[in-house]
């Protein structure tokens, strides 16, 4: 029997007819669709239960309370802690994506020396050699931490200098500190008792200070009220988000806020709107008004509005003394609703030591802002978690990332109450990383370790028997049985708050009206300026790229 072409055709027809009665076409049709629902190149989340832990945020000095959801050993979501005494359940905008930062493409996981790959032993050797040769500077961006103790001790023991790099919010308090003779770190803003807040460009509603503190306050006392309990007057050249929502917005000419402050001072004193008689600026009202580009009537109007509804406090984003002096005139330094001394301060190790002229090497802790340009001399050992780009450092040393390090969080710069919190290492510290304190301990094993310093601090708080611990609910320190119990509570995400602030009057020795800051200091230029890490979480692109609600930032993104 010969197989013909015709047979082939008929056979094929038979197969075709038969295949319809098998699962082949139908199962394939379904499975191919399911395949399109499960493409292998599309990541899917891990399976398994989710656990929730509390921890303070370690990204900036504010130390907001976070609720961290963990699955399969990784954080999968961050939210605020409702009723948290500092943050009232809020976080900053980008904090909600902070758990993604550890995988940021700019994450540093290799030691780099002069732009080339290097190793920890080499860095260690280079630093040891430098230590042997000359004085060392150690720079700390967030003094008062347990790690700061190690940094400071090291500097002291090795003929070095411990220098702190104050953040913008501490810097803004510096004039008052200078005039009243107390450290800036002991000052804070009594926002809760203020009824008028005049902000010279401070992004109060946009991540200033501890974000939730002011936003909640504003929301309850100002938002949507035609005659608000809390008047927010924003003085800023552009209509920023804070300006848009302020009770009043005054568009001052760029870089002339000092002049406006002078004009206001003139009106306040000359029209006896304040008790103070001086000091008075040299500039006349007319001159100042011309500089600021504002009609005199408007300035006078503003001055009246400032005192109409006291207490009033003036807040600047940059610590311009000419603006700060307004608070002295207003009597807002050392009075409720103004700039006040923090509640009873539990003594900590001292402040920055003075700097010798020359250093053989500088160690920069990861807490120091990336854009700080280190002193030119000497070899720079820069600790950082992310590569913010364009580094001047000789050594780039990878630090543990978000939630990868045990650290404590001392009082936030703007806070009126002293606080303390502990962030445990919820994630294992990557082997490629070291903190500056760990690094220095390898040179000098006698340095106090972070764990011990935290114990000591908890012991101190326990002994002082002051304030309360908030962990879901408040419990007075006096009711704790032991320092260990207190520490345990703090390690579970609790926060210690000292007593309410003191009403200690501060005497400001301000005789002559200060000159406006010589060079206009870097006021917040974009909305990312309140964000401490040198990189933004990739999801920030939702705001600057996938919507029009924000201007694109100058900061490095992904």
């Amino acid at each position: 029997m010969k197989f013909s072409r015709r047979d082939l055709l008929i056979g094929t027809a038979g197969v075709t007819a038969g295949i319809v009665f098998t699962p082949v076409p139908w199962k394939l049709l379904g499975d191919v669709s399911i395949w399109s629902q499960n493409w292998s190149w599309i990541p899917q989340p891990a399976h398994g239960p989710v656990e929730t832990t509390l921890s303070p945020c370690t990204l900036c000095a504010a130390g907001c309370g976070m609720r961290v959801r963990m699955a399969a050993g990784f954080p999968v979501g961050i939210s605020g802690v409702a009723n948290h005494p500092l943050t009232k359940g809020a976080l900053c905008t980008l904090g909600y994506a902070a758990h993604q930062l550890n995988w940021h493409p700019a994450r540093l996981l290799r030691v780099r020396h002069s732009g080339r790959a290097s190793s920890w032993p080499e860095a260690q050797a280079a630093f040891a050699a430098a230590c042997a040769e000359g004085p060392i500077a150690v720079m700390d961006g967030r003094p008062g931490r347990a790690a700061s103790v190690a940094l400071e001790t090291f500097a002291a023991k090795h003929n070095g200098s411990y220098q702190t790099v104050p953040g913008p919010e501490t810097q803004a308090l510096a004039p008052y500190a200078a005039w009243s003779g107390v450290p800036a770190s002991t000052l804070g803003y009594d926002l809760e008792n203020a009824r008028t807040i005049v902000s010279f460009g401070a992004p109060l509603l946009d991540g200033w200070g501890t974000p939730g503190r002011f936003t909640r306050l504003w929301s309850a006392r100002a938002a949507g009220q035609s005659d608000p309990q809390l008047r927010l007057i924003q003085i800023e050249p552009v209509l920023s988000h804070t300006a848009a929502r302020a009770w009043r917005w005054l568009a001052v000419r760029e870089g002339t806020q000092g002049a406006l402050a002078a004009a206001l001072a003139r009106v306040l004193v000359e029209e006896h709107l304040v008790k103070a008689q001086g000091p008075l600026p040299e500039m006349t009202l007319e001159q100042a008004a011309v500089q600021a580009g504002l009609p005199i009537a408007e300035i006078r109007d503003l001055a009246h509005a400032m005192v109409e509804h006291g207490p009033t406090v003036v807040i600047t984003s940059d610590g311009d003394p000419a603006v700060a002096a307004l608070n002295v005139l207003l009597g807002a330094v050392g009075t409720p609703g103004g700039i006040i001394l923090k509640s009873k301060v539990i003594p900590r190790h001292g402040a920055a030591s003075t700097a010798p002229a020359k250093f053989r090497a500088t160690v920069i802790d990861a807490s120091v802002p990336w854009d700080l340009i280190p002193p030119a001399q000497g070899e720079v050992f820069r600790f950082a978690t992310w590569d913010g780009g364009d580094s001047k450092a000789d050594w780039l040393l990878p630090s543990p990332g978000f939630l990868e390090e045990l650290t404590d969080i001392p009082t936030a710069p703007t806070s009126a109450t002293e606080t303390y919190a502990i962030a445990t290492d919820l994630l294992a510290q990557p082997q490629e990383t070291q903190t500056a304190a760990q690094f220095l301990r390898k040179i000098d094993a006698s340095l106090p370790d972070v764990d011990k310093s935290i114990h000591a601090r908890c012991e101190q708080i326990f002994q002082a028997r002051l304030g309360t611990i908030y962990a879901g609910q408040s419990k007075p320190v006096a009711q704790f049985e032991s320092a260990a119990k207190l520490e345990e509570q703090l390690r579970k995400g609790g926060v210690w708050l000292s007593e309410p602030p003191r009403n200690a009057t501060l005497h400001c020795a301000l005789k002559i009206w200060p000159a406006a800051a010589a060079t206009a200091p870097a006021a917040p230029t974009d909305w990312t300026s309140t964000w401490a890490p040198p990189v933004l979480p990739p999801l920030a692109a939702k705001l600057y790229q996938e919507s029009t609600v924000r201007e694109a930032p100058a900061r490095r993104l992904a």
Binding site: I42, P43, Q44, P45, A46, H47, G48, V50, R69, A71, A72, F74, P75, V76, G77, S79, G80, G89, A90, L91, C92, T93, L94, Y96, A97, H99, Q100, W103, P105, L205, D206, G207, G212, T215, R216, W218, S219, A223, G224, Q225, S226, L239, H241, T242, A244, R245, A251, P537, P538, L539, A541, K542, L543, Q545, E546, S547, T548, V549, R550, A558
Partner: protein, 250 residues
């Protein structure tokens, strides 16, 4: 008793910070922007728009309006148009549900939505290497070529349901079900609640004289309400057919 979950967003409290957008994207495993993505091709189930009174200089006023799916209750525009039942108005919650795995990506629902609250996955979702560990286990990642939108943080609803079941309760505790944007708002501008419950504070807020809805005249009965005391913001709620609008050219 079925619930009708809805929101009242206080525009006077919105500072346009964008925390709701970030928290939403993080909760719902929305990928970061593709390199070429723009405001017209991005995925922002919660999106804050800037409103202005149209003036320039010192007379300019700005406000912000967060826009998510409006969860239209009546003649839900997207539900009826979907050819393969990938969208439905859930009977027990009133949530308009989008099922991306059923979606064929025809985008008809997107043309139907007057609020532009639906987003198409123009690109494959991509995260930097390793970042997939940070994905929320309660939400599956969408593939390219499908439409997605706000499902009112359904993973959180699931958790609340499960918690209620484990505790032997039939109804969820509303305290357990708080969408990410509501939780994240630093000024508490977004209130979330059950509009079917007359005693719910949100129901009462939705009835206040300051409350309004967007494009109410279209008649889709959105369950996202807004409120403001500012007349100029209120005027932007609806088109006024009698008034010629300013022609805008972008």
């Amino acid at each position: 008793m079925s619930a009708r979950y809805g929101m009242v967003i206080d525009l006077d409290r919105c500072t346009g910070c964008g925390a709701c957008m970030i928290a939403c994207a993080s909760e719902n495993n929305v990928p970061p922007a593709a390199p070429r993505a723009t405001w017209r091709t991005g995925i922002t189930p919660m999106l804050v728009h800037t409103l202005s009174n149209g003036k320039e200089g010192v007379d300019r006023r700005e406000a912000f309006i967060p826009i998510a799916c409006m969860q239209c209750e009546h003649e839900t525009p997207c539900v009826s148009v979907c050819p393969q039942q990938a969208v439905e108005l859930d009977k027990s919650t009133g949530i308009v549900m989008q099922m991306p795995q059923r979606c064929l990506g025809c985008r008809y629902c997107m043309t139907a939505c007057p609020y532009h609250a639906r987003y198409f996955n123009w690109w494959d979702p991509q995260w930097p290497p390793g970042m997939e560990h940070s994905l929320n286990p309660g939400v599956s990642v969408r593939m390219r070529g499908v439409v997605e939108k706000c499902n009112m943080c359904h993973a959180r609803y699931h958790d609340a349901l499960q918690k209620a079941a484990a505790a032997g309760k039939k109804k969820i505790d509303l305290a357990d079900y708080v969408p990410a944007c509501v939780e994240a708002c630093p000024t508490g501008a977004i209130a979330f609640g059950n509009l079917a419950d007359p005693n719910d504070p949100v129901t009462m807020a939705a009835k206040s004289p300051d409350a309004f809805r967007l494009l109410e005249s279209i008649g889709t009965e959105p369950k996202i309400h807004y409120k403001t005391t500012q007349a100029w913001i209120r005027a932007l709620a609806d088109r006024n057919s009698g008034r010629p609008t300013e022609a805008q050219h972008v």
